[in-house]
Subunit: 134 residues, 2 copies
Amino acid sequence: MSHEVDQRIVGELNRRFYAAHESKDIAAMSELWSHGPDVVCIHPGWPILRGWAAVGESWRRIFAGPSDNQFIVTNDQLNIADGIAWITLDENLMSAGGTGTIAATNVFAKIDGRWKVVHHHGSPVATRRSVASP
Amino acid sequence: MSHEVDQRIVGELNRRFYAAHESKDIAAMSELWSHGPDVVCIHPGWPILRGWAAVGESWRRIFAGPSDNQFIVTNDQLNIADGIAWITLDENLMSAGGTGTIAATNVFAKIDGRWKVVHHHGSPVATRRSVASP
């Protein structure tokens, strides 16, 4: 399969990731992810979650919560290699509680011929940037 | 080259990344990174930086600052595929200003036969975890 086809598939997977999040659709979110023990998810402010059992449970808890988030995704860049792709982007949140930006890294892997989400990392962007040490 | 050799090289690269950070060695940090236009760095609380020019400048600014950080890296997991690897870990900071944990994603790519850092994303772990929406 050509790189261009893979790029389109990964881009579409990324769009479906945010659609599943907005609609709080745990079945759709579950379908997008690899269910392996080595998947990783770092929600903003959260510690590292490892393995689908913990990652899936985190999405269930978040979707069961009161927040009703709408995302506008901007500033996205796709990097793609053989069987691995990663997208960095800004999640611009417009929730009832206010607005904000989350910088995100999403990693995708082609597993048995199908692209799956294997990693998500989101971090809040400070409104006023200071030179903080990483 | 075997997967085991690549794993050792990437693990060593990751250790040198934190050694360069601790010693504020911009030459060492610069050597570790790919200098391509598609590298990405998201420091804790910062917006996405793209391309080595911006990423390198951020490290120069951080290393010129007053902070004197020591890291203890824990909870590290390496995922490796053909020519791409990513490590997730906790950076446990012990600076003069206090302690804290940064959850990090580091991505490495084999470019012209040599592994390089192509992506770094760090996010502060909240001391008391709340169910925040990602």
